[in-house]
Point group: C2
Chain length 252, copies 2
């Protein structure tokens, strides 16, 4: 029998609407402590968190996200890659290292940031809070960096809204794990459409609370829509990484 | 009072040595189910997991990691970005999209992979298993892609070893959360060395089990060492991303 934690993990839903109730500081501080204790690449702690409390700033970020509920999240967090801090720690010791800008370090910080976000989500859900990941903060990275005054050698990874749930969404169907987990080598398949046939049907029984009275499209149709309708600005993410001071070290 | 889950999160240590005991399939399948239920960017499920069970392959990967304990992990997982699967789902419907290669999608998949890894770690620790993240699988991305037969539009993110703990490491000191969490904007400081002074001292009381009878260096010294001694191959990560078929869409 799964324990309570695993029951919560298997029952995870995105919560976008929260009760109009503050989350006590003690609970927020516990979430931060969980983030602090999260595993970190080679111990370097190359990620940081910015909590957005200013209501004007929340509205501006909700506009980047193009989702007005973002402005209402009781806790709004932005997780960032941060090699700036260690660069400064070296600089104060007289070492001005070019290696703070390298993409190996960037990806270490990116992974650290994402791990701490999920650790916070699990802690929050264990305390009956709900959460929504906000990949949409990357809709305009330049604007977000500007709003949060992100210095060189930092970069946003993901946003997170947290609060007491004021909705009870349906559990969203997911594809068969056999399509996502393999043994010893990657397993290419030549009949994905057949293998996701049941999943496609399940998705048509799922009602997203954002879109009343209309079931979702088949997953295979969603994939086509997503691949056809892209955001030019979001595709530009690598240029934003370069703008933030990172060196791709690309070969000719 | 923190609940049991949060107690475990606050008590997280890296476990590198495991008992010589298999993890039952039922437990492994629960971990996979937790990964499947992890939040995923716009529902696209652009990450996958490869479990390495072949003992020769484990040894080869442990050599990439330059850490022989990797070959002994009862469960060894590699988390990957995977936009290949959805590209094929579109292709089977007659759509050959160039957008499967875009870096926006890459980062969505990268984040998905990291979130599912941490969700698995939390589930594992809730069942008294221990875990070690293996960023070192990226020491030679080209070799790893080759060993795991990773197709275009896939990319390794992180490795994870899981098993029943056979060691009880000390809790590793971490810097003050005030240095890592800010409000409304990034907070630059002009005296990091002063602010990490206590942390520097704490680090010197920490004994890594890999390195008997010798406390660690101050954190500020570790930073200098890490910034001075870099791996040229690891710094080359963006070239490996390009080799795996992703399009940086860099502006001139």
């Amino acid at each position: 029998m799964p324990n309570n934690m695993i029951k919560k993990q298997l029952n995870h839903r995105t919560i976008r609407e929260f009760k109009d109730m503050e989350v006590p500081d003690e609970i927020y501080n516990t979430l931060l402590e969980v983030a602090r204790r999260t595993a970190t690449s080679i111990g370097m702690q190359q990620s940081s968190i910015i909590r957005v409390t200013d209501s004007d700033l929340k509205v501006k970020i909700s506009k980047i996200c193009n989702q007005e509920y973002v402005a209402r999240a009781p806790i709004l967090l932005i997780f960032i890659v941060d090699t700036y801090r260690n660069h400064q720690i070296a600089l104060e010791q007289g070492i001005d290292s070019k290696n703070s800008s390298d993409m190996d370090r960037f990806f270490q910080g990116f992974t650290d940031a994402a791990l701490s976000a999920q650790n916070i989500v699990n802690a929050a859900e264990s305390m009956d809070l709900g959460a929504v990941y906000l990949g949409s903060v990357l809709n305009d990275v330049w604007k977000l960096c500007d709003l949060l005054e992100l210095p060189q050698y930092t970069f946003p990874v993901i946003g997170l809204g947290i609060g007491y749930p004021n909705q009870d969404p349906q559990l969203k169907p997911r594809m068969d794990v056999k399509l996502r987990a393999f043994e010893n080598h990657y397993e290419k398949m030549d009949n994905y459409m057949e293998k996701i046939n049941d999943y496609d049907k399940q998705m048509q029984t799922y009602y997203d609370l954002r879109d009343d009275n209309k079931a979702m499209d088949k997953f295979s149709q969603q994939v086509v829509d997503r691949l056809t309708n892209v955001s030019i600005k979001r595709q530009d993410i690598v240029n934003a990484i370069v703008s933030q001071g990172f060196d791709l070290k690309l070969k000719e």
